[in-house]
Amino acid sequence: MSESSRLIICEYCDSVYERQQLGTHQRAHCRRCGALLDRRPWLTVDQSLALSATAGLLLAFVCFYPVLYIYVRDQSGSATLLDAVLALFNGPVSVMGMTMACAVILVPATQIGLLVWLLAFARNQRHAPGFRPCMRLLEVLRPWSMLEVFLLGALVAVVKLTGRIDTAPAAGLFALATLSFLMVGVAGRDVRMLWDQLS
């Protein structure tokens, strides 16, 4: 570990600290502004890789399997994540369709792709080709992944329709719930550990 990565700078107030060895549930907070400085990564490289691959499969599943079913008298309908995006895209405001496609499909898919790529090499203590741009891209993408909002959206949609139309959750909804939970774990700040582990 180089001289400088022993130091942590608080991103909220620019205070400098020496990195301390933390226990499993210990967290380091900034004394000046109270922000989280450091914590032990939740997952090892192997675990992150396995969960990223799982997340990739779940994302594919949510795109093609229905999230909700509806029934009205003799008619029924269903919608997948992809259907919801396409519905906006084909409507009068296709720009929002593109935004939604980015927020719930493209960004998570790119995050997962990058994670699998980086972690697969990191397992063998190696830098993946394009390591630095990939790590930077992950950092840029993080705020724009909105899967958990879509999850809440599915819940709101159910309530909005009840009374008029019968709704039932489908397998996609459970996959979506698992996926948004997984993304918090694998695409969070833990990835930064790769900077220190591979050097």
């Binding site: 400088s4 942590i8 700078i9 205070s15 400098v16 999230v67 519905a87 929002m96 930077r136 950092e139």
Partner: protein, 205 residues
């Protein structure tokens, strides 16, 4: 005894990889990830102010224009954001009405007020309640994208309720402006630099 600031040790935080970059040789790029180094985020105040104002302007049509058009055999109806909250409330689903109200009114309004307050207080070089203001900024980061809720609900409902001539739901222009408000306020939050809060009043710590 408070910890030193990065510039006092001739260090600079890399925004991308959070590395403490030594500035002895005055590098332009982070030695670890090669992202461009900045002392503070460039033009933070101007950019945040511009983006917040733009979002504020779009927030008006976002509330006035309908977001959803419902078509049934008997009648057609369009709903605005507040209208759909009211509808849920009257139907007895007060909990979901509250969730929707929080996401589509509470969160954006909080963001406007908080961003405005942060901008004004930093501009006036205030050194009061800096810790609380930093916490406010972290709150902004946290709630950032939840207002996208309405847009996603509109998309999902449109995809679900398609019964051809018998009825259906279609999105309307309101969600465009609403989505823009969310994206612009998120960009405003990202371009603000909370370290500006701590740049004043360093001597009297």
């Amino acid at each position: 005894m408070m910890p030193p600031f990065a510039d006092q040790l001739n260090l600079r935080l890399c925004h991308r990889c959070k590395y403490a970059s030594p500035m002895a040789e005055d590098p332009r790029h982070c030695t670890r990830c090669q992202a461009r180094l900045h002392y503070r985020k460039p033009d933070a105040i101007a950019r945040t102010a511009a983006l917040t104002l733009a979002a504020l302007v779009f927030y008006i049509p976002a509330n006035l224009l309908p977001i959803i058009h419902t078509r049934t055999l008997h009648h057609d109806s369009t709903t605005t954001i507040l209208g759909s909250v009211m509808e849920l409330w009257q139907a007895g689903a007060w909990d979901i009405a509250l969730v929707l109200f929080t996401a589509s009114v509470g969160v954006p309004v909080t963001k406007f007020l908080a961003l405005g307050y942060l901008l004004v207080s930093v501009q006036r070089r205030s050194d009061r309640s800096r810790k609380e203001r930093t916490r406010l900024y972290r709150l902004l980061e946290l709630i950032g994208y939840w207002s996208m809720l309405d847009v996603f609900v509109a998309g999902l409902l449109t995809a679900l309720v398609q019964f051809g001539p018998l009825g259906g739901i279609e999105p309307r222009a309101g969600i465009l402006y609403f989505g823009l408000v969310v994206v612009l306020t998120m960009m405003a939050t990202l371009s603000f630099d909370p370290r500006l809060i701590w740049d004043t009043g360093r001597s009297n710590e």
